[in-house]
């Protein structure tokens, strides 16, 4: 159920922001619903300005911004109490250690001193910051600094968490852990999370919705599941075994199918051992036929689900529609590369 406009975490209507003659946000209207939302767009699309507008840091030329029903320009204090931000730029107070930094952030958000320290340790434990927390922030590695910034953003238990490139500089394990924490916050604690990033696989992995911003306008907005559905219904099978034999078997049964690359994230079997097939799912009899073919050829089925297009394709198409031939060429060449692969 979609909440009413007043209770929406973020609701923007026709927001216009200009820096001199340059229009950075040009009539942006969008809603951020509870759950995880990805905010994607090319460099200079206006993502950072949009986040600043939500915080009430910039004065708008036109339009309205409401965060939990409040105007950030009129009630910046109340709005910022309910928001936690992880900025893209590394920001810290030189001289403070990791735990002091998180405590400082908690105190600035209104937590009393002792409680702020207790809470800082608790959140850093959850972020797996280890003993590194006692070192000055400016001497920490990028990954630990990112953890400290994340801990500082959530230490005061905000309802809305905005993250700008949260997986920047993280190794694959840390990246996966970070995405897991975000999912936990949204699923188990009911937080609304807005991720601004260029890493589209991250968005596709954890976000429920996506907003594509380009040239200061919202080009695409909606559920990722719906946006990434292929034009014709297709199912995707991941399995181990003689997939080429299975393809021939499917062709013999009149089902159109093709090999594609396996999903990189699917554990525990490595992509080298796995294979994937996309097949036409427009007919109701295709799925039983696929099971039959798998049994006949000895393929072990790991997963069978509705196929989705990569979010990257959706993104590029949206940008191409917005910006004309140059991006359209880029989009089509990307599609050709995928087909060749």
């Amino acid at each position: 159920m979609i909440p009413s406009a007043a209770a929406l975490p973020v609701h923007l209507t026709n927001v216009v922001k200009r820096y001199g003659r340059r229009t950075v946000l040009d009539g942006v209207s969008l809603e951020v619903l509870p759950g995880i939302t990805g905010l994607v767009g090319p460099n200079g699309a206006g993502k950072s300005t949009l986040v600043r507008a939500m915080l009430g840091l910039v004065r708008l030329a036109a339009g309205t911004v409401r965060v939990f029903g409040l105007d950030p320009q009129r009630s910046p204090r109340a709005v910022r109490q309910s928001i936690g931000v992880v900025p893209e730029d590394e920001c810290s107070v030189p001289g403070l250690s990791g735990v002091e930094m998180v405590r400082y952030a908690a105190q600035l958000a209104g937590l009393p001193g002792i409680e702020a320290l207790r809470r800082a340790h608790e959140v850093l434990d959850w972020c797996d910051a280890g003993q590194e927390r006692y070192r000055p922030v400016e001497t920490l590695s990028v990954g630990v600094r990112q953890k400290v910034a994340f801990a500082a953003a959530i230490v005061h238990d905000p309802q809305l968490v905005i993250l700008d490139e949260p997986t920047n500089g993280l190794d694959p394990l840390e990246r996966r852990a970070m995405l897991g924490r975000l999912t936990t916050l949204a699923r188990d604690h009911g937080k609304t999370i807005l991720i601004s990033t260029h890493v589209l696989p991250d968005v596709q992995a954890i976000c429920e919705r996506v907003i594509v911003l380009a040239g200061g306008r919202v080009r695409l907005s909606g559920s990722i599941r719906e946006l990434t559905l292929p034009p014709a219904p297709e199912d995707r099978l991941e399995g181990i075994g003689p997939l080429d034999d299975m393809l021939m078997s499917l062709a013999g049964r009149g089902i159109t199918a093709r090999r594609v690359a396996p999903a990189p994230e699917a554990a525990p079997v490595s992509p080298a051992q796995r294979g994937a097939i996309l097949f036409d799912a427009s007919s109701a009899s295709s799925v039983p036929a696929v099971w039959e073919a798998a049994r006949a050829t000895g393929v072990v089925v790991l997963s069978l689900e509705r196929a989705q297009r990569p979010l990257e394709d959706v993104f590029l198409e949206a940008i191409a529609q917005a910006d004309g031939p140059a991006h359209a060429a880029l989009s089509s060449s990307s599609g050709d590369d995928d087909a060749a692969a």
Binding site: P76, R80, P94, L108, G110, E122, D128, H156
Partner: protein, 377 residues
Amino acid sequence: MPLHDVGYRPWRGERCGYGHAVGVIAGTGIRLAWTSRWLRRAVFFAWSPALLFAASFFAFEQAVDQGQLGTMQEQARAGRNLDGVGVLGAVLARSLGAPPPDGRPLDANSTRHMVWARLLLAFMRAPQAVLLAVVVGLVAPTLISRDLRAKAWLVYFTRPVGKLEYILGKMAILGVLVAAITMLPALALWALGVLVSPSVWVAVATWDLPLKIILASLTLAVPTVLMALAYSSLTAESRIASFAWFATWAACWIAHTALTTADLVAAAEVTRLSREEAAQESFFADEAFGEFATVPPARQRSAPRGFRWLSRAAGLDSEIDRWAWLSPYHALGVVQAWIFGIETRWRAVLPPLVSLLTVTAVSSLVLWRRVDAPARA
């Protein structure tokens, strides 16, 4: 996984109200500033002049206690001992404007009030204002410029911290340090004066001095702190802000000295010319009137050589410093003298007062515009 990891838990406590952030910013800022060894040395050194002034208070009270504010001949006639410390206190009192002995008994209370006020003014004007420039110059330039360089402004303005709270927090960091080197030692001096005086009722007789000390400290702190923070907010390089701060003090001092010296030279020239004219007139007058000719005026009494700097610092210059408004140090001195009730001529006080108010207003405006400028960019 850490042993104490309890997972993420919601927090439902009560948040502190408006103004809490000021204390947090100030507390953290002071703690970070205090890690500088140079600052600790400077603050420690800033208390050392207080020892000299404490000795002055003691000497003066000795003079009062021994009744030596009158002439030495009177004391000798009365059979009292001429104690060295008491004599020093008497000389000190004369240097600070106590009326010369004319045979009548001096009112100890009014003399004490005057001497204490002038001692406190001298203390705040001569050593402490210079030390203040040094200490503020060590701390202030980094306060905002470092936030700009490390993008720490995001730490504040993405949280429920307003511009005013941020500025007040930063001002409080410097305010505490300024208080530590000006107000606290001056109040300690006043308390010491009470302790070494013949009666604790002296505290009642001089009740207004602590208030004047606080007011004079605020006068010292507000424009200087705002100016230093304004410099700091104009650049992400703290050394540039540092340079600008010290350059302002030095350049204004030099300009003041140059202009004052030029005035003195001009005045000396006028005096010389008028003397020459007078000499010519007296030559003719001598010829005409003989013994009725004019005689040169007697040399004015002034403080003993060792105490002249004290007299000057205590605001005993009879000439109006017409260039005081040009230099923060001199302007602050005049306004503080006015607060202590030593300088009462509006013609002397108004230009420095306007100058300091202008500095305060301009610095506040610059700060207000600059502290969140990166967020608006």
